[in-house]
């Protein structure tokens, strides 16, 4: 099985992947909440709209401990399909890869050791046009930069992942606020991508925030964003400055991180890829490559070539039907781990099946 799908800038993507061999990887998962995820229909990253607020904290509790603490079950879609953190956890465990969780604004404090940004805050509904206070956005950004400067240099490669339900909608908001016509291009955790609803929510917010589009990344986030993407942009900028390689581990949300980084003047060429999953790349309801081409055409897009068609569990086979697809850095973590440690595809898949089996048998 070929582990990687080179979806955009294949030559550069291959060179990047090859350059990771033997390097030291640190994975950073930034979590946060936006009240946008409670708008019915926006997010299926939780059994109910209200429960989506708990998903980031419970995702990382499960990631770290193998079980949820704050509520009694791991995050699932309304259909019962589990969080992609299953993949991330299995891959981290199989490879003993160091990682840390950063809270940029989780609705509840995760009950695991995690980095707190002092200005962390839950984002407001972006249809209000007032997602976050402008100064707060800047503080979150600055704190992410401070964290990045003090910590990231210990590694050679930084994987940046996220968990924020409603995140593709706020990503759309950020991109649109920065002047990109990203309509209809962001992905969804479900097979039916609610593009019309996402557009309505973003357009409503857009109408309530003056002087948009803007070149000011902090204003874009303050109007139509959330605490997570701006924190990721801060970490990305520092990592690039320090000469590290960065895998932006996520789907179309990472295009919003690229858009913020561009607005901040971060030089992306040669040091950064978007690392995601084949499911995301092949998704017909979204366009990760189109977004990256539009925003940061110098950045390769690489997918990890998971195939769960023959998985022994129905929950995992649903991934082949357009459910979940990506999240909690699942694809990019798999890419960085495989490339740096030369671990085989089969090792990762075996670990995922075993981890998922453990979960199913526990129920």
């Amino acid at each position: 099985m070929v582990a990687f799908v080179f979806a955009y800038r294949g030559g550069d993507g291959r060179r990047f992947i090859e350059s990771l061999r033997g390097l030291r990887v640190l994975c950073v998962y930034v979590i946060g909440s936006t009240m946008t995820s409670t708008i019915p229909g926006i997010s299926i990253a939780g059994a109910t709209p209200k429960l989506t607020l708990y998903t980031p904290a419970v995702d990382v509790e499960y990631l770290v401990l193998g079980k949820p603490i704050s509520i009694d079950s791991i995050p699932v879609t309304p259909e019962g399909i589990p969080t992609p953190a299953v993949i991330t956890r299995a891959v981290l465990m199989a490879s003993s890869t160091p990682f840390i969780v950063v809270d940029a604004g989780s609705y509840i404090e995760p009950r695991i050791p995690h980095v707190d940004l002092p200005s962390r805050v839950v984002g407001g509904r972006i249809d209000s046009g007032k997602a976050l206070d402008y100064d707060r956005v800047k503080s979150i950004y600055r704190e992410a930069v401070v964290l990045g400067k003090s910590l990231l240099g210990v590694a050679d490669v930084v994987v940046l992942g996220e968990s924020i339900p409603g995140g593709t909608t706020t990503a759309l908001g950020i991109m649109v606020a920065l002047g990109y016509s990203a309509w209809g291009m962001v992905s969804s955790a479900g097979p039916r991508n609610p593009h019309d609803l996402k557009r309505r929510v973003v357009e409503e917010g857009l109408g309530k925030c003056s002087n948009l589009p803007t070149r000011d990344p902090f204003k874009a986030v303050a109007c139509l964003g959330d605490p997570v993407h701006v924190a990721l942009a801060g970490l990305l900028g520092v990592a690039v400055d320090e000469g590290l390689r960065v895998v932006l581990a996520g789907g179309t949300q990472m295009a919003a991180v690229l858009a913020l980084a561009k607005a901040l003047g971060v030089s992306l060429e040669g040091q950064v890829i978007v690392g995601t999953t084949r499911w995301l790349i092949e998704d017909e309801s979204s366009d990760i490559v189109g977004l990256v081409k539009m925003i940061a055409p110098e950045v390769p897009v690489v997918g990890f070539n998971y195939d769960f068609s023959n998985a022994p569990y129905p929950g995992l086979r649903y991934y082949e039907k357009g459910y979940v697809k990506e999240g909690v850095g699942a694809g990019g973590t798999s890419i960085a781990v495989t490339a740096s440690k030369n671990l085989g595809y089969e090792v990762l898949v075996k670990s995922i099946y075993s981890e998922y089996g453990r979960l199913v048998e526990k129920r």
Copy 2:
């Protein structure tokens, strides 16, 4: 200038130091508070007993940002002599060494990015014999272990430092509760070490906690300890398990960490040193070497050979008169940085003088 003083097990200490060359260092500073520091006369790590509760948070705010945030000045003794975090900050900056702060129970949340242990809590006065809830002690320990397992493997060498005013008194409490006759051996941030007061406080607590001394490290901490030393013991144990080298960066408090590690069955030989300052080693009012010999005779004690006799600032010259001596990992950080990066003594001292000059001119 010879950078190191080999105070105990010189041959092993030298070999350890030499083995650090070229390795990757991560410094971890664990902060927390104990109400013990508010007992008048116990701690001078703050301008008043009450202000000692703010010292850990402000120490790390200053460490990270170069200025205090939560209160308007950096921690000083009642005489106005500044925190040893000045040394630590200057050394970290001069060497670009990665580091992270862990809050195990600070009285206030530091306004910098930091790792929170979910069970963090301020310790009670140990003269009550009830410093902490027993289950809480275990949770803090477990969370430190979880953090260590997920993060420390990114480095080769871990430096463990602390900031907890009243910490030598709780360290004495922990050692005595574990059956060591450590009376009169712990150090103080002032030239007049209040041994009689420390003994009275510990003995009062000892009388109120049943079945002491104990072999149970969690009980020792629950009766007479604090949140910081047990968290450090958890991190130490994981680091050793993962095959890392560890510099316990502190003075006599690190003997309490060794005592906890011993009780937890951690194997210390060859992987661990106590790294401190010459001031601490030469201090006549305490006995770091005696404590280590008694508790973990396999662990070398190394001091960084700072000499501020000719410092251009009176505040630093006070270090030569028995003030401050150690704290916030100052000595051990200097040792690890010098040994791993082969940085000269003069580079560090120049950076410290310059950092201190910046502070003085700001006032």
